[in-house]
Symmetry: C2
């Protein structure tokens, strides 16, 4: 059992905040390490001499910060930091594709993690408006839509959906579950669209309830969205990939020339 402080009733900050601060400090100073169990609600109630709702409010603040996770019937635990994957901006370098490797696997290999992909679905549909816009397609033009989930060491870290114009994807392995060596970018180049550049648009937000479920994250854990558009050497957009990443599982790295 860790040692807790006391509540200062003359303090400006309300009791639940004081409790939250003390628990937060136990975590940040390493007195409570990832995976460790916090004192139970009953223990906190008794120690601080407050009502249950007060303790729960403190715990909820920590849950909101993503510092702890509550497990029904077991207790409240310090969130164990998932493996952080650093995504370098050169991860789509042609050299890697030539070696027959998909980007996610290249990354995983570099960090010694076991990467898996599941929940793969491939359909052909009319392009959503924003995708059609990015691909310079007419409204209602059809695209091949590939969705999948990525896991690192068995933990879900990302869901991704790729859109390729049907005119490029038709008759290739892009419409198959297994896209073959080098992934869809290799297939696109085989169709005569040598890749020239990518743009990536990054932002962050809270996940939808469905994303929370698929990514197996609690409330209070934000996601990053990265929308990548691939252009061929004629600057024609050939693919859009919309990814939702568990934020604390990723650091994105970019190299920018000063020009």
């Amino acid at each position: 059992m860790v040692d807790l402080g006391v509540i200062d009733r003359t303090d400006d900050r309300p009791p639940y905040r004081q409790i939250a601060t003390q628990l937060r400090r136990l975590i940040s100073t390493g007195k409570l390490t990832p995976g460790a169990k916090l004192p139970s609600e009953s223990e906190l109630i008794e120690h601080y001499g407050v009502a249950r709702m007060t303790v729960r409010q403190a715990l909820q603040e920590l849950r909101g910060e993503g510092l702890v996770v509550a497990e029904h019937g077991k207790g409240v635990f310090v969130r164990s930091a998932p493996p952080v994957r650093r995504l370098a901006s050169n991860r789509f370098a042609r050299a890697h594709r030539k070696e027959g490797k998909a980007a996610f696997l290249v990354e995983a290999e570099a960090t010694g993690r076991k990467a898996t992909v599941d929940q793969i679905s491939v359909t052909t549909e009319p392009a959503p408006a924003d995708i059609a816009d990015r691909l310079h397609l007419a409204e209602g033009a059809r695209v091949v839509m590939r969705s999948r989930r990525y896991l690192a060491d068995g933990v879900p870290v990302e869901i991704a959906t790729s859109y390729v114009p049907e005119s490029i994807a038709a008759g290739t392995a892009i419409t198959s579950t297994d896209t073959g060596p080098g992934g869809i970018y290799a297939r696109i180049e085989e169709q005569g669209h040598e890749l020239g550049r990518f743009t990536e648009e990054v932002t962050a937000r809270m996940p939808t309830p469905e994303e929370r479920k698929v990514l197996q994250i609690g409330a209070g854990v934000p996601v990053m969205t990265l929308v990548r558009t691939a252009f061929d050497v004629d600057d024609l957009p050939v693919e859009v990939c919309d990814t939702v990443k568990v934020s604390h599982a990723y650091v994105l790295e970019y190299d920018v020339p000063a020009r």
Copy 2:
């Protein structure tokens, strides 16, 4: 007053979730538009016939998703989407510095916003361990540390802290509140360190209570952190800038060659 549904006591989902779902739907369907006031707690209590804590739990779920903000003494309101700033990866191009413009102002100008900077503080201190590491400095080496807050149209959108080795900054305007035309990058180049490239590391997380206060955001709104390191043409790191951005106020854009 909008029309609400009722609680189905035979439903699996607990009442507070049903209430949250109904309110969420009012927002997503546009029956409650940004800035609109939700029914007050008392109204919800009366309408649904539940205790206050039940209603508050529903509202809290929406706050956690960043959909609404509570204003003490006034009510709960649908969050109005703040202006989104798109940050292009060429925003530090030398051309802009030559024109005597700082990056933030260049961006603001491009989008027609009124950009302001406040809470500027400049100190000289021993470098924190991670900063010393990035700047290739010995532990305890001194750096000039510049903190400031950026606002777009009066709304806080970012806080930033720059670190420059004292060996470069000493005796320049970098140690002044006003760094002069072109900002600190112009001053660094005047010291003989022509800039060659930048690296940027991006991730997202929940804000600390203090960041929430400075950025004036509620719980449930994530932040993006962007750590930029500037290198001169000899690949010597000359500055580290640590920024914390309100996530929904920014989209970061990067251009990546396929190589």
